[in-house]
């Protein structure tokens, strides 16, 4: 019995280690390729450590991608902030101020989260052109705020559902109205909700590509579009795209590694079930 137990334990750790290795291989390959001199990069030697370390790819990639990184920072911070604040207010209404039909409206909101965005792309493109917002960051921010509302509302609604109604009642006995209850009671309790939602929105918006390429002009391209251009084409020397990938991945990877707990909560919230 003891022997069998230890055998399963060994097998478990063996399989886990092997799988972990497999999941990390792409990261390893990216890092070593980014650190190689272009002349040292060849297909048969792709797994070997760089013979001489070359950090220049990172500075080169950063110079090329800097305008895109600046665009993405502006886009991501403002769209995250706006959609999170709106989501918090919506979630407050949907969980604490239910009215006839509010569940139906909430479900209709959620639908917006699951549509393939191609289905709204042409009218969105036309509307932004008509509003003179096509091509720049404000239009992109508007799109991210609007289509971010379903998920931010969902996370906050589920978050506020855990706040006991007794708190609401005592607030109302004290004479606090709709907004005062929000600012005095709900908002101070919402910090974890804000962390989860804004982390989720940050990663989603930072990683988004379709709208970036369809709704902006060259000068407003976000980081994903910049990277796709840097890596596109046939005759690429692979050190630059790999260094660029690392730069584009760094903000979201840092969030994931440092604040992983909150990231996972956002991820679980996306699956609707409470």
């Amino acid at each position: 019995m003891r022997l069998r137990l230890s055998f399963t334990t060994v097998a478990l750790y063996g399989v886990l280690a092997l799988l972990a290795l497999g999941y990390l291989l792409p990261a390893y390959l990216t890092i070593i390729t980014a650190l190689k001199l272009p002349a040292d990069i060849s297909l048969p030697q792709s797994w070997q450590l760089p013979p001489t370390l070359n950090y220049a790819s990172f500075t080169d990639a950063f110079t090329l991608l800097r305008p895109n990184i600046v665009n993405s920072v502006i886009l991501t911070v403002s769209a995250t902030l706006l959609s999170t604040v709106l989501g918090s207010l919506n979630g407050y209404v949907f969980s604490k101020w239910k009215f006839p039909g509010s569940e139906l409206i909430f479900t209709l909101f959620l639908f917006g989260m699951f549509i393939p965005y191609q289905v709204i792309l042409i009218p969105l493109f036309q509307t932004l052109r008509a509003m003179n917002l096509y091509g720049g960051l404000p239009g992109l921010i508007l799109a991210h705020v609007v289509y971010g509302l379903p998920i931010t509302t969902l996370i906050f609604r589920n978050f506020y559902a855990q706040i006991p109604d007794a708190l609401m009642e005592s607030a109302s006995l004290d004479g606090a109205g709709f907004f005062r209850t929000y600012t005095r009671i709900i908002f101070p309790l919402s910090i974890p909700g804000f962390v989860v939602t804004s982390l989720w929105q940050f990663t989603q918006i930072w990683n988004e590509f379709l709208w970036g390429i369809c709704l902006t002009r060259h000068t407003s391209y976000p980081i994903t579009v910049g990277l796709a251009q840097l890596a596109g084409g046939q005759a690429v020397s692979w050190n630059l795209p790999m260094a660029g990938s690392i730069l584009a991945a760094l903000p979201v990877l840092l969030i994931y590694i440092v604040l992983g707990r909150y990231f996972i909560r956002g991820l679980l919230a996306g699956s609707v079930k409470e």
């Binding site: 799988l19 792709s46 699951f114 792309l121 042409i122 790999m242 994931y256 079930k273």
Partner: protein
């Protein structure tokens, strides 16, 4: 006071209601309208482009037209992508979750490693995997380190396909599929309620027989023979997607397993259940809602594989095409807005068949709660 607050609540919500109403529902309606016109061509980007009502021409062209072959292959690709991604990501994710559920040492480390790909953008993972899957490097030469022959599979540039079928027989295939679904439901019900199961079994058998005997007489979907199959070049893209999303299903299942009480597990073990039978008969049935969520979210992802394919094989690769990509090219490169809108509506309808029942049932569930 209370009433005034209710009004304030509705007013707070109203900007979002208007935005969602317009940007989601209004825009979907508008895209549908565009898909019924002939908007396209040289002057498509004029301030007031000419749009004439054209009925369902765009849809008919896409499914049965001479030039729609590319789209039809994309659609077939999307179906195979979805099936493979669902099987792969759910299978691997469940396996990882079961292993980590036994709380090995370093569980947090392993969880982080399996989940990190999920935080990356598809453009990043696509760029990395394009390099990983180069024909004479990356994954293909890994076996050499174990003293074996290298792989020679051309992950992203193969041209063959497997599981081919003739698009002409689309109607016949559809009838077979419906019949198979009816038979499966019927057989599952048979043990419990034999009489009710006949309601499923008889139409299933009838449809199957009809397609088998009368399939030749059914109208052909196309005037010429056109085979479509599972393009081998899409294997690489599926592999990359599974790498990226299996950690996600793992996280979902882990959360579900953790929610099952330890008492239940102990009781099952006392009754002599092995680990395997505990998961098979107790844990997995209990996390069925999670499986449903995973199916919904993964099929949603597989329908918008735009970015990953764009980064891995480029937008113009016919072998690895996808309707989401085709829509972009048709609309923004070829300026054929009406055709692009029709493709978008088809994607939307496919997504809707998964999502609408899901949302309706979650709505009913919420309303059922006091």
């Amino acid at each position: 006071m209370r009433n005034q607050d209710r009004i304030k609540a509705v007013l707070t919500l109203s900007p979002s209601i208007i935005l969602i109403g317009l940007f989601v529902y209004g825009f979907i309606g508008n895209t549908f309208w565009i898909s019924l016109t002939d908007w396209g061509g040289v002057a498509a980007l004029a301030v007031n482009p000419v749009k004439n009502y054209a009925g369902f021409t765009n849809y008919i062209d896409l499914f049965t037209g001479f030039l729609g072959g590319g789209f039809r292959q994309d659609l077939v690709n999307a179906v195979y992508y979805s099936v493979m991604l669902l099987a792969g990501a759910i299978g691997v994710g469940m396996f990882l979750a079961v292993m980590l559920d036994s709380k090995p040492k370093g569980e947090a480390f392993f969880r982080t490693v399996f989940l990190y790909p999920m935080s990356l953008s598809f453009i990043v993972s696509g760029t990395i995997w394009r390099w990983m899957l180069s024909p004479q490097g990356g994954v293909n030469i890994l076996p050499e380190y174990a003293g074996l022959q290298p792989f020679t599979f051309r992950w992203l540039s193969s041209t063959g396909s497997i599981l081919e079928f003739n698009w002409q027989n689309l109607l016949e295939i559809a009838i077979y599929l419906v019949s198979a679904v009816l038979l499966i439901i019927g057989l599952r019900l048979f043990a419990k309620t034999p009489r009710q199961s006949l309601l499923w079994l008889i139409p299933g058998i009838a449809l199957g027989l009809f397609a088998w005997l009368g399939g030749e007489m059914l109208p052909k979907a196309l005037f010429m023979e056109e085979t479509h199959g599972f393009n081998k070049a899409t294997f690489g893209i599926i592999l990359a997607t599974i790498w990226q999303y299996s950690g996600y299903t793992m996280a979902l299942y882990l959360a579900g397993f953790t929610g099952i009480s330890q008492d239940l597990r102990d009781a099952a073990m006392l009754d002599g259940a092995t680990t395997a039978s505990y998961y098979r008969h107790i844990a997995l049935p209990m996390v069925k809602p999670i499986t449903i969520s995973a199916v919904i979210i993964l099929s949603h992802i597989s329908l918008k594989m735009f970015d990953l394919i764009f980064a891995m094989t480029g937008p113009d690769n016919g072998q690895t095409g996808h309707p989401a990509l085709n829509m972009y090219l048709t609309t923004f490169r070829a300026n054929d807005f009406a055709r692009g809108a029709a493709i978008a509506i088809i994607l939307f309808l496919i997504a809707g068949t998964f999502i609408i029942p899901y949302l309706v049932s979650s709505y009913r569930q919420r309303r059922g709660k006091p």
